[in-house]
Structure formats: C-alpha cells, structure tokens
C-alpha cells in the first residue's frame, strides 16, 4: 500500500533547482496548477553550488543546436531578468559585458583558436574570436594580467548573474504566479497516471517533468526513459569582497555583484562526493594568480564543491517518454545559462507539445547504440 494522497495538480515538477524552477515558473505562467517537489536541506544541489556564468562560447561542441539554444537563452536573459525583478523585486544581477577565456601560454592559445575555428565551421553565428594580450588590456582597463597571459578568446554574447539570486527569484516568481512548492518531498516511486510517492506523501498529476538533476537516472526508468548522466564534481573558491576590478567574467574567474571573486572549477569524476581537497584549492589558486596576480592578496573565505549533471556529450537532454506519455525529462549542466529559454520554451513543449525547430536533437535517443551491421 502506498503513501496517503496529499494532493493533485495539472503537472508535477520533480526538482526545485534551476531547471525545475525555471520550467515550473513558466508553466505556472500559463495558468496551470503546478506542484514543484523538492528535497530537503541536505540534497546534492547543483543549484546551490553554481558558478553563475551565462555563457555561450564553446557551448555545443558536436551539437550545433545546443550552441544556438545557448545563444537564444543568453539573448533572452536581459528581458528575463527584468521580468523577474518586476515580479519579485529580486535583482539577479545579470550583466552581459562579454566574456573572456584567458590563454596562459601559446599552447592554450592554439588549442582555443582551433576550438573556435571548429565551432565556427560547425554552424553559423558563432561569435567568439581570439584577442591578443594588448587588445585584451584595452578591453579590461586597469586589470593587471599575469606575464603568461598571451590573449583570450572573447565573445560579447557572454555574461553572468548571481545564481543564488536567480534561484530565489524563480521560486518567488513561481509562487507569485500561483505555483505550489513542496520541499522535503524526495521522490521514492512513480506510478503511471502519474502517482508520485515521496517522503511527504503521494501526489498525482496527468503530467510530470523530471528535473531532479543527478537524481534523474534513478527516476527516469520508472517512466520508461533512460537518462545516462553522471555527476561531475566542481570545486570552487570564493574570496572576501574586493573593489570592483574585473569588468567581465574571465572564464573561471568572475567577480560577483557583492565584490567577492569566484574561482572555479575542477572537473572530477568522483561519484556523489561533495568533499573539497587541498590539492584542488591550491591548483585553482595557482592558476588564478598566474592569470591575475593581484588576486594573491585577497583572502579566501570559503570553498565548496557541487556536482554537475553531465550527459555523455555534455549537451542537454530533453525528452518525452514514449511508453509513458505525459512524462518529460529535462537535464543538463547549464542550468544558469539556459534558465531564460527554459522558462520561455519548455512550457510550450510540456503543456502544448509545441517545440522549436530541431528540438528533437536533444533527445536521449542520440545515445542509442546503432544496430550492428
């Protein structure tokens, strides 16, 4: 016998992180009765450990539709931020000053140049270009670059925002549009119909969106989907508040609206381990100082680790179940960058079945092994 029925809705969104909250916010905006289920205080929340880049360059290597998708989201961001601020009073501190990936030494420059070239060949509208050190210095007056910095890959499409403010604003906006939020409701089981059994009782809705990040691989088979993502640990350092000195995010270094400097991030396959290591902290600090020597006097006040959600090709997965119609999944690493397009476009897909051109490219079926000859 299952848990007591606690409530029903038009659609249940499983996951209160950036992906779930952006979709739920948009769905509530369509006048649907949306219930967003979330875990408790100790969940592995990628949304709590985000770096905060709204980033376009280098996104979608091997999947051009993802590059376009990221661009569209970044283009929508200013309006999206203004809409959230109007509705909730929360400033997500979105800025789009462009972004640079610093190249330390000729080898990094060459690798980055080749990547940009390949991306430009892959499809139209790729914006990143290589800028030499002197031009970089003109673009970032007053910033002292390390001797090894030979230049950067720059794109005016890139920007950043405060990811925790974004999460708060999405939650507040969702509530303002009549959405219902149920924390402490970790999903245990899903039955057809859909009946979702959680730590906080059972809930029913004819539609269901799985947006539970690294929790999805366990939940998806319950609705006939296979979602082969894996957690990837990223460790991040953050300093005390500093004078505003960095006019744009520089890849793995960005200055927040508060003035703190974030330095990221490692890429480690260590399963569900959110521990931090001294070796990683030292490595992050070393590279950051090689890039921007002035950082050495700033105090490190915190470090943390969060788990990215990584599909095999690092590109998003959006799918509807064939065996369980009405069950959808949305999962990827770029919850911040894609929040604007998620809020705008996922509701059309989930509520009305309307999708953008080429949306099927994001199906997890792209990972199916081709039949042997």
């Amino acid at each position: 016998m299952g848990a007591m029925l606690e409530g029903t809705a038009d659609i249940i969104v499983v996951g209160g992180g950036l992906v779930g909250a952006a979709a739920a916010y948009g769905l509530a905006g369509k006048g649907l009765d949306v219930l967003m289920l979330d875990e408790g205080d100790d969940a592995f929340r990628a949304a709590r450990g985000n770096f905060g880049l709204v980033w376009v360059q280098t996104k979608g290597f091997g999947l051009q539709r993802y590059q376009e998708w990221s661009q569209e989201s970044a283009d929508r961001y200013a309006g999206f931020a203004a809409e959230l601020a109007d509705l909730t009073g929360i400033d997500i501190h979105h800025e789009r000053p462009g972004g640079a990936i610093l190249c330390l030494g000729d080898a990094e420059w060459e690798a980055q140049r080749q990547l940009n070239e390949t991306m430009a060949e892959q499809g139209d509208g790729y914006h990143a270009r290589m800028v030499e050190r002197r031009e970089l210095e003109r673009m970032a007056p007053g910033v002292r670059f390390g001797q090894e910095v030979v230049g950067a890959s720059f794109s005016e499409k890139d920007g950043h925002c405060g990811p925790l403010y974004l999460l708060r604003a999405l939650h507040a906006g969702f509530k303002a549009k009549g959405g219902r939020y149920r924390p402490g409701a970790r999903v245990r089981h899903i039955e057809r119909g859909f009946r979702v059994e959680t730590d906080a009782g059972a809930f029913e809705a004819p539609k269901l969106l799985l947006a539970a990040g690294n929790g999805i691989p366990l939940l998806a088979p319950m609705v006939g989907l296979q979602v082969p993502t894996a957690p990837e640990r990223g460790q991040v350092l953050v300093t005390e508040r500093a004078e505003p000195f960095l006019p744009m995010p520089m890849g793995n270094i960005r200055q927040t609206a508060e003035g703190t400097v974030m330095i990221g991030a490692t890429q480690e396959s260590v399963g569900f381990d959110t521990g931090t290591t001294l070796e990683a902290a030292r490595g992050l600090a070393q590279r950051a100082i090689r890039a921007l020597p002035g950082l050495q006097q700033l105090r490190l006040v915190r470090s943390w680790a969060a788990l990215r959600v990584i599909p095999p090709d690092r590109c998003p997965i959006y799918d509807e179940s064939e065996t369980h119609p009405g069950a959808f999944v949305a999962t990827m690493h770029s919850g911040v960058t894609l929040a604007a397009i998620h809020a705008a476009r996922l509701p059309d897909w989930i509520a009305e079945g309307r999708t953008a051109d080429g949306f099927e490219a994001f199906s997890a079926r792209r990972f199916d092994v081709p039949a042997a000859a």
Binding site: G16, D38, G40, D41, D42, R45, A47, R48, T58, I101, L102, C103, L104, E108, Q112, L164, L167, R168, H171, A172, K175, Y181, P183, G184, L237, T239, E240, G251, N252, E258, I263, A265, T266, Q267, G275, T276, T277, L278, E279, A280, A281, R282, G283, L284, A285, Q286, R287, A288, I289, L295, Q296, Q297, L298, R299, L300, V301, R302, S303, W304
Partner: protein, 444 residues
C-alpha cells in the same frame, strides 16, 4: 613534517595533553592561534602582575603551573598558528606569519576550546557592545578595565564572575541584568545540603551575587526585551545609560574544525549547542581524530585538563583509570551548574542582527524559511547568512534555532551549516605558494 600527536589549541586541554603525551614518549606538535599558551581561561598568565592576579583570583592563577610544565616539556609549540583545514588522515593545514603549510601526524587532538555564545539582541553589533568574556580577555591579556559605566546582561556563571572582577578592578558597574530567573536559585543555595556535588560553585555564586549587591550594583532577574541603543541598554520596563554593554549567554564548544573534518555532532538540548560525538577518551568515529576539553562539551578548565590527559594517555596506549575517576567527579558538578544557569530560551527579535558579516537579521531568516529554506544550508543560499569571513561562527546556532522554531522541528532535525575549509581565511597567495601537489585547473 610528521608527529605522533598534533594538538590544535594550547588551552588547558591542549597543554595538559601535550605534557602527558610527551611524558609517555610521543613526539608532539602544538598549534595555537594565540601568541602565548593558556587558552582564553589562562590567557597571558605568564605576564600577569600581582594586582591582576588578585583581581582574577585563584582559578586563574592555577593555570600557571600547567603553562610552566608545558613550556618545560620540550614540546614543538607553534604559537600564532591558525589552523584552517583538517583532513582525517591526519593532515592539518595552517598559516603562521603569512606562510601556509601542512603537517601530518598519526593522530590529531582537537582542543579548540569554547567561545561565548553570540547574543543577538537589537543593537548588539554596535561599537561599545561586547561579550562579557571579551572584556575578561582584555583584562587578562592587557590589564584593560572599562573606563565608563558598565552594564552586564544575559545569563551564566561568567556574567557574575566578570561583574565581580570588573568591580575589583575599579570599574563602574552600574547593573547586572539577568535574562533568566537563574539567579533566584542562588538565594536558596545555603539551604541545600553541603554534601551535594557542586555545592562549592553554588556558594561561590551566592557570594558573587552578594558582592555585587553590596557594591550598589542594580540587580535584576528575568529581564526581557534587551536592546542596545549605543549609549544605553533598554529592556522591558526600563532603560539604563551605559558606555559599555557586556552581553553573555554562556559558552559553547568551538566546533568549526571538528565539523569541517567531517565528524558527527550531536545537539545538546539542555545547553543548546552542538558537540562532537566522542567516547570517554575523546575518540571519534575517525581513528586518527580525537577531541578533548570544552571543544567536546562544556565542563570547565579542570575537566578540560583531565580530558586532555586522558586523551593523550589513551593515544599512547596506556590506561587512564585514575584520571577517568577524577574527571567523573569533576563532571558530576556540571548538571547542577547547567540547571542553575540554563541558557535563555527566547529566540531573537526580528530586528536582531544574527549574521553580522552579511547584515542578516532574525526577521530575514524567518522570511527565508517562509520562502522554503528547509534548513541552515538552504538558508545560506536564500539569504547569504553564514557566507562571510566568520564562516557562520556568529550566526550558526541562532540561525539553526530560528529555522527549527519556524518549522516546528527539533534543532537536530534541521541540522547545521556545512562547514567548508578554510575555517579561517587565508590569502590566495598563501594558498598558492604552499608546497605540495596541486591539481591541474582548467581554463573554463
């Protein structure tokens, strides 16, 4: 550099453990963030002149022998060392004079002692408002005496003690405002049988209270609605002008290092704080990590020294039977003292500053809970509480209690801030120039 035993903290527990371990042939390193041994309880005892010793009394002077033994034991003692990371392993990362290094040991003893429980009342973050313990530290370390009118407010035995010491030092103590009814127990104390464990402390409490009253200090119990205005303290039904307001609500274990190291902690319902889960010898679930003294639970300096010795002797593979008996006697007094001075149970008013680093009030925290923050960690994400340089030391306890209260759950169910290194800030330059392996970092 590797040692048999590395000790973090040179207060009574750390010093006694170091002396005991050295006696049993262990190589010992002691790291302490202060410039002199003694911890806060015996702070600067080596430099104390006769006047100060008289003011501070015999319990303070008792630390001198321990400090002398510690100095004489041939221990590798490293003052001014701020430990900012501890990994089960046991590896310590610390900074000293602007240089960061690591140190490994077979075992690490955490003897980080206690800190005053922060007292979030409206205005508590103004200059001229301090912990009563802070005033005592300034008296011990520098012979400082408040120059204007002083009011002490709050609860706990230290409140009375500091009041008396400041009087003896010639300060103008205007009032002692107790937020609990605890002081009333003291009036009944002489009637209690002398055989009762803890009678001595009780008698001391009575004597202190009499001393204050005789000196003309205004004495109130059960005071509510405390607020600091800058030149006075307000409370329900009154206001007293003062130049310095000293607040106190007891002391709590310093658990940042033990929590960062990943040890399990338990909420102590009576005394309202977290304490690491340890056995009688201070051992934890991690074979390499031991906790002793007030860092494992508040029991005072004598008990701290005993627990340090027990931990060290156990680490040396020896039986600490007679020490354990002495410690049991020492701890037997504690329950009475705890009952006598229960911490205040009222939670801070909405306007009270809880997270000082990020200027977050109790009201902000309550709002974040209503917005869906289930516990302290989501609270951090929702409000920035606990994200500043103090790493949540000042707000952690109150924040957890407010969240628990709003949600109608026990504190242990809502949990505590996850503590991440560094537990003390250090510059990126220090971190980067440390010797040892560094992981490769990516450009993006």
């Amino acid at each position: 550099m590797s040692a048999d035993l590395a000790i973090v903290g040179a207060g009574p527990a750390g010093m006694a453990a170091a002396v005991e371990a050295a006696k049993h042939g262990l190589s010992v390193v002691v790291l302490d963030d202060q410039p002199e041994p003694g911890g806060q309880i015996y702070r600067a005892i080596e430099r104390a002149g006769p006047r100060l010793r008289t003011i501070l009394g015999g319990e303070y002077a008792a630390g001198e022998a321990l400090v002398r033994d510690f100095r004489a034991a041939g221990i590798d003692y490293r003052p001014d060392s701020a430990v900012w990371r501890l990994d089960a392993g046991a590896r310590i990362a610390y900074s000293r004079n602007g240089t960061a290094s690591t140190l490994t040991a077979d075992r690490v003893l955490i003897a980080t002692g206690a800190m005053e429980r922060p007292v979030p009342i409206p205005g508590a973050d103004r200059p001229g408002v301090m912990g009563a313990g802070a005033a005592q530290v300034l008296l011990k370390a520098s012979g400082l005496v408040p120059a204007g009118r002083v009011v002490l407010a709050g609860a706990g035995p230290l409140l009375l003690l500091v009041g008396c010491q400041l009087l003896d030092a010639g300060a103008d103590v205007a009032a002692v405002l107790e937020t609990t009814a605890g002081g009333d127990y003291l009036d009944a104390a002489p009637a209690l049988p002398r055989a009762l464990a803890g009678w001595r402390d009780l008698a001391k409490g009575v004597a202190m209270k009499r001393r204050l009253k005789r000196a003309g200090v205004v004495f109130r119990s059960g005071v509510g609605g405390l607020a600091a205005t800058g030149d006075s303290v307000r409370f329900d039904g009154g206001e007293i002008a003062c130049d310095l307001l000293l607040l106190h609500e007891g002391v709590v274990p310093q658990t940042h290092l033990s929590r960062q190291a990943g040890l399990a902690h338990r909420w102590q319902t009576e005394q309202r704080h977290w304490a690491p889960v340890v056995d009688a010898a201070g051992r934890t679930a991690e074979e390499t990590l031991i906790v002793a003294g007030d860092a494992a639970g508040i029991a005072g300096a004598r008990a701290a020294a005993l627990s340090g010795r027990i931990a060290a002797r156990t680490a040396a593979g020896k039986e600490p039977a007679e020490l354990a008996a002495a410690l049991a006697r020492e701890r037997a007094m504690r329950p009475l003292l705890d009952r006598l001075f229960p911490p205040r149970t009222a939670l801070p008013d909405d306007e009270a500053p809880v997270c000082r680093c990020e200027s977050i009030t109790a009201g902000d925290i309550r709002r974040a809970v209503r917005d869906g923050a289930m516990g302290p960690n989501q609270l951090k994400a929702f409000s920035r509480a606990g994200m500043g340089p103090c790493q949540g030391r000042m707000c952690g306890l109150a924040a957890a209690e407010i969240v628990a209260d709003e949600r109608g759950l026990p504190v242990e169910e809502v949990g505590s801030f996850r503590i991440r290194p560094p537990v003390k800030p250090l510059t990126l330059g220090e971190l980067a120039s440390m010797e040892g392996e560094a992981a490769e970092a990516e450009a993006l």
